[in-house]
Amino acid sequence: MSYLPNILFIVALATASVLFAKKVGRIRKNIGLGKDVDRSDRPSDRLQNMLRVAFGQSKMQARPVAGALHFIVYVSFLIINIEVLEIIVDGIFGTHRVFAPFLGKVYAPIISAFEVLAVLTVIAVLIFWWRRNVSKLDRFHKPEMKGWAFTDANNILYIELVLMFAFLNMNALEANFADAHHSFLISQYIAPLWSGVSEWGLHFGERLFWWLHILGIFAFLNYLPYSKHFHIILAFPNTYYANLEAKGRFENNAAVTKEVALMMDPSADPFAAPAPEADAPIERFGAKDANDLSWANLLNAYTCTECGRCTSECPANLTGKKLSPRKIMMDTRDRIEEIGANIAANGTFIDDGKSLLGTYITNEELWACTSCNACVQACPIDIDPLNIIMKLRNFATMEESSAPGALNAMMTNVENNGAPWPFNQMDRANWINE
């Protein structure tokens, strides 16, 4: 009977781990639906980028207030995990504060430091909540932030508050024990609130908060992959696999290179039998649906935490156009989830009559982009909405010929006279003598 808590704990830990692993496996599979792109080069630059941008939060600090608050919550998350490790060991073996004897005199200062972080986190989370719900920062209230996106954002804040509340009160209750060994910096001031409680009540309450804290963490872990908050994990691989080239360099489509080389080769025989690989399924130029994108694009989509810095810097969005780079990422994620679910249910993808371009993203959004890279620059975790926009444009222009008329006219000019305007090629050097 005395092992019941241990068994319950192990069952809870195992269930939480298995469920989490399963869901992450499904997301991994969905990301794998994307086309291949080589991001295996320059490993040390990639590692550095990850350490600087994800671990070091360098791009977050472009906005000092949000940057500082986020840094507090982030550091707390990293450090309080040490405490979670102790809780897990305690839970499995039925020990209590198993690290205390090993750490001796430094144990109390360490837990006290965690408590300070917990209080700072509570303050930061309350300010975050205020910005989202009371002062209503514009970027949190764009059209794509209605419904689940808004609820999800608040859920995360509430869960964090509950976890910190449980952690601090667990320690506060223990401080009142008749045989209390520990007293910590913050919880000693919460302790008097519980001073009238019986010894049994104190022990019961301490256990209650202990369980609330750890089960809350297990629940939060399993909430992550359904939430924008998954960025706390994916920010690391996402920055590692980020595009390290100059932002102005848009990738050249290799399939097109082959076609163009053939066209420009005077010795090519136009009537020659197609090369053997011509039997391979015909690849689309560009992307119509989420699985035409690369896995890096899809990883971007799952990494997005919908902070909206991209949208708040986008010149099109700033001037009232429908385009929102954040929505491009959210649409991509929603669509690849839908495709993944379709495959899971049917064994293979059954056409559902929907597509990323058309059903989710409209032409009006697509053609409002100025390719200025403000969204890419703004993203604190190196997400690249522009790359997706350009692939969708490739499809719209090359497969559907649905580019705006004025652009078709411009392209006809480039084709006919080597300039985007209808001027004669022979007049190119006229400026010299004008």
């Binding site: 100059a246 050249n252 009232g320 156009k321 982009c369 480039v414 300039a419 985007p420 305007w421 010299i432």
Partner: protein, 262 residues
């Protein structure tokens, strides 16, 4: 009319000479009346420094940038291959251009297709000449004048070049007032991504009007640009606010040419 010879690469090659640098003029610089003034200013500076340079003249063709940004990868690569064959035929090594879009495409997107050149935006090129002592700029006429600089997206964010244009302006002894959104956070003029060639989607404002407002908020008398498209967009934005008599839009090359009285 330029008072000096602007040789084409074909002429120079025929004479058995190779220029130190190829001046890539670009479509705007060749055909747009406003941008032609930038081209001439740049040619004057090149002539003034005594550097041997050439242009391609009628052999130059669109780099393909607007086609690529409009989604037409096929047309882009056709343009790229034609240009690369020609540039490689002339054994071009070094290119300078006054257009950040040409600059970006030549520098970043041509190498993979076989076109490897040392490509510089004119702000980088002139700044380098300055450092090497081959170009001297005296402040003179612009001394103390309030100006602001608009970062072109394809020079700034796209290629992380923010300092070269500012270093040039510093030499002119102007009083540079930065806009609220500048450098990494600079607001686009609205022309990129082939937007120059179409009407904007429905919205509440035009991007170039907003950017012109931001530029004028600094109190600048001159808005300096480093891109012929930004130049047009900002000029139109300022006209829309009926401030064209108070605020001028000039390219970096024009600033230097004017300061040096070229």
């Amino acid at each position: 009319m330029t008072t000096f010879q602007v040789p084409t690469l074909a002429q120079m090659t025929a004479e058995g000479k190779a220029p130190e640098v190829l001046f890539w003029v670009g479509c705007a610089g060749s055909f747009d009346d406003r941008a032609k003034k930038i081209t001439k200013a740049m040619a004057k500076i090149l002539h003034h420094t005594g550097i041997s340079f050439a242009v391609l003249g009628t052999e130059e063709g669109c780099t393909g940038d607007p086609a690529k940004r409009a989604g037409n990868e096929f047309l882009f690569q056709m343009q790229a291959m034609m240009n690369i064959q020609m540039l490689n035929g002339y054994e071009v090594k070094h290119i300078v251009t006054t257009c950040p879009h040409c600059f970006n495409t030549l520098k970043n997107e041509y190498p993979e297709l076989g076109g490897n050149y040392h490509v510089e935006h004119h702000s980088q090129f002139l700044n380098r000449l300055l450092k090497e002592g081959r170009l001297k700029i005296e402040g003179g006429s612009f001394k103390g004048k309030k100006i602001t600089f608009h970062d072109p997206c394809y020079l700034g964010r796209a290629n992380d070049e923010y300092e070269a244009p500012r270093a040039l302006l510093e030499k002119l002894d102007v009083s540079l007032k930065e806009m609220r959104r500048c450098k990494q956070n600079g607001l686009c003029c609205g022309a990129g991504g082939a937007q120059m060639f179409k009407d904007a989607e429905k919205g509440t404002a035009e991007i170039n009007h907003v950017r012109a407002d931001e530029a004028m908020e600094t109190g600048a008398e001159i808005v300096v640009a480093g891109c012929p498209f930004c130049n047009t967009m900002l000029t139109d934005g300022i006209k829309n606010r009926e401030k064209e008599n108070q605020v001028q839009v000039l390219d970096l090359a024009e600033m230097i040419a004017l300061a040096e009285d070229l």
